[in-house]
Symmetry: C2
Subunit: 144 residues, 2 copies
DNA sequence: CTTTTAAATGATACTAACTATCATTAAACT
DNA sequence: AGTTTAATGATAGTTAGTATCATTTAAAAG
């Protein structure tokens, strides 16, 4: 992995630039996200940060999603997951066995989007693409 | 729209072929889905079919998703929506203003998938792509 | 450095979208 | 028609949030 890890200062600075107050709780949520690797749930964060209320965790995650600092996505069954954004525009691979989430960038996806302009009625305002995988770790594990 | 509408007989026959019992409730859920156009929620169906229990509606929708007769997808904020499948493998356009869902097929998306095999660690088992739009109806409405 | 003030927090209650339990009902096979 | 077993529905429980509102606190003002 050669991408730069998300810096706490970046996330905090972005919130600050948006005119939001930098509270201890928001610092804690951002720090917890940085400690997570691939993907996490809101409840993961809430459980880890006993000193931060559940409502505040959800409120902060929503702010971070709106600021494009994290992504909210769904497993095939709809279970919501969050994932820290490390590169600007990206898509996700999600392991259906262990839930591991990785980002990937692929310009061919964007090229497809441009070709869809002809097929789709209306104005395209965004898109989402998820690739479901069995990750290397899960493939290599004894349970196959 | 030139695609063939989903036939109730198809859905019922598919469930039957899977060894499931054809109950009055399942017929009613399938019929309700056929009456819907673009997209619907589980609660839409439950509210419309007063004679069918909510649990049964959710159970039936799950069966139909598993049989690929309907798709479950999410609005940008994660709100789950269902949409009848009319063509075999497809993706969705979702209007972020009114929630209207349309299917589209695009072979270039599948070509992208093949190219991703080189970029993504692990074995690709599936994918999902949603294009968010403002539909013609919403663009043409007085509120812009 | 205090004071001010509006944003943020947390406890609580509530909602949405399911899921589990289990006694009762009814497909479908004989 | 009788038997069996899947399916149903009422109820309660779970997960992932959102709304309310009294209390706290960040940060701007003095
Ligand atoms: Zn895995
Ligand atoms: Zn993209
Ligand atoms: Zn619309
Ligand atoms: Zn596809």
């Amino acid at each position: 992995m050669t991408s730069t890890p998300t810096s706490q200062f970046d996330a905090i600075a972005t919130l600050e630039d948006a005119g939001l107050r930098i509270t201890g709780q928001r610092r804690q949520v951002v720090a917890a996200i940085e400690r997570k690797g691939g993907g996490f749930t809101a409840e993961d964060i809430a459980a880890e940060l006993e000193g931060v209320g559940r409502a505040t965790v959800y409120r902060t995650l929503k702010l971070l999603v709106e600021a494009d600092l994290i992504c909210k996505l769904a497993l095939p069954d709809g279970t919501p997951m969050y994932s820290a954004s490390r590169v600007e525009h990206h898509h996700h691979s999600v392991c259906t066995s262990c839930g591991a989430i990785e980002e990937f960038r692929d310009t061919t996806v964007e090229r497809v989007l441009r070709s869809l302009t002809r097929e789709i009625e209306g104005e395209i305002v965004g898109h989402r693409m998820e690739v479901f995988i069995r990750c290397r770790k899960c493939l290599d594990s004894p349970s196959g």
